[in-house]
Subunit: 229 residues, 2 copies
């Protein structure tokens, strides 16, 4: 137990030095800065980049962070000249230490909004408390239906005729934070997990930039657990 | 305990005699016969009547049964010349006895499909086993979200941005039978329980006749718990 905080501190310092060394000049310093966290192909990252380019998302994607060095989505960051950072979770002494490193990365870069986009990590209060109501996640169902993993398969197995996608604020509890925006997606007769997932993903690509734009630029408040714009 | 079956039999016989006495000639004997069960205003009953009149529901509503003598929806039955029957649940010795009386009423009238429309009774296996895959219910949410009572209030309190309505097959377990059809309904910023309920109800009035028409006239099968048309 007594070695753990020390190891954590050392790891954190090493990461912080790397973060500062690799940080680059933002493209448009007047727009709020977004960090996008990925673990895989990053198609929602691409949707956010496209929305920024099109002007429908008045923000700059300041950094892309992946917990996996082989995440294909990192290629988008390279392609569009966005700083990317690989922060392997295996190297972190604890979930909390990992999240403290994330917080350091966000603070160094003046991040206003964090978008989890297929980021396969449960976040801890360390991150949520540092960025209250500033972390979004996208989930491939109409929450509260089908939380957790394999939401599309859950929907198919339940036999629903309508499912969808949800952008919600992130809280330490999985998939239950207040809902920012949802979109309905029909389930077709011959859908497989793959075909349904593709249809939901296409809807997500519209939903996520819209939700980020709303949270950044529309007045809103939380009443109970309802996000009121 | 030993008096109960006897009382149940007597009650059942009395009801059966009343059912036979009050049954009337069907309007169109070639179309499948529907029984609609109500407890209240019967607005979905009205939607089914309208769909039958318009020809979009190829069926005849053969009987309207209410468990409450003061259900306002009974007026629709009178207005459109449909047989109505009040079967007060308070008079039934048990839930099972009540459901046996319903089965008697359906069998006497050659009912092909039973539509629960705001019928505030949980049905027993007595009814479900007598009419397997022949009983529909409509619920004011996108099941499996918000089952049970006050689904609209549950949706508002959860802060969802999309809810809806579900037509599903009835099983003895509440609100979990295989789903026939669903419709999505947006939740608006300033919705009250009343305004949201009204919007969902309007969607139900399209959904329920469509679902009844599908079940009666499209080939379908159950795969797992999915209704495949």
């Amino acid at each position: 137990m007594d070695r753990r905080p020390c190891r954590s501190r050392l790891w954190r310092r090493a990461v912080r030095e790397r973060l500062i060394r690799t940080s680059s000049t933002p493209r448009d310093s007047s727009a709020p800065a977004i960090a996008v966290l990925i673990s895989g192909r990053g198609s929602n990252l691409k949707a956010l980049i496209d929305a920024e380019s099109a002007g429908s998302l008045a923000a700059r994607i300041r950094v892309v962070i992946s917990n996996r060095a082989d995440a294909p989505g990192l290629a988008y960051a390279r392609e569009y000249g966005i700083e990317s950072l690989v922060l392997p979770h295996a190297s972190a002494p604890s979930r909390e230490a990992y999240d403290r490193a994330l917080v350091d990365a966000f603070q160094t870069r003046g991040i206003a909004l964090i978008c989890l986009a297929g980021f396969m990590r449960v976040v801890t209060p360390v991150l949520c408390d540092a960025y209250p109501w500033r972390i979004l996640n996208i989930h491939p169902s109409l929450l509260p239906a089908f939380p957790g993993a394999a939401a599309q398969r859950q929907a198919l197995e339940h036999g629903v005729k309508i499912t969808g996608a949800t952008v919600h604020f992130v809280t330490p509890e999985l998939d239950v934070g207040p809902i920012v925006r949802q979109v309905a997606v029909p389930v077709n007769e011959r859908d497989t997990v793959e075909s349904l997932s593709a249809r939901i993903l296409a809807a997500e690509h519209q939903l996520y930039p819209d939700a980020a734009q709303l949270v950044l630029h529309s007045p809103w408040r939380i009443e109970g657990r309802t996000v009121v714009f």
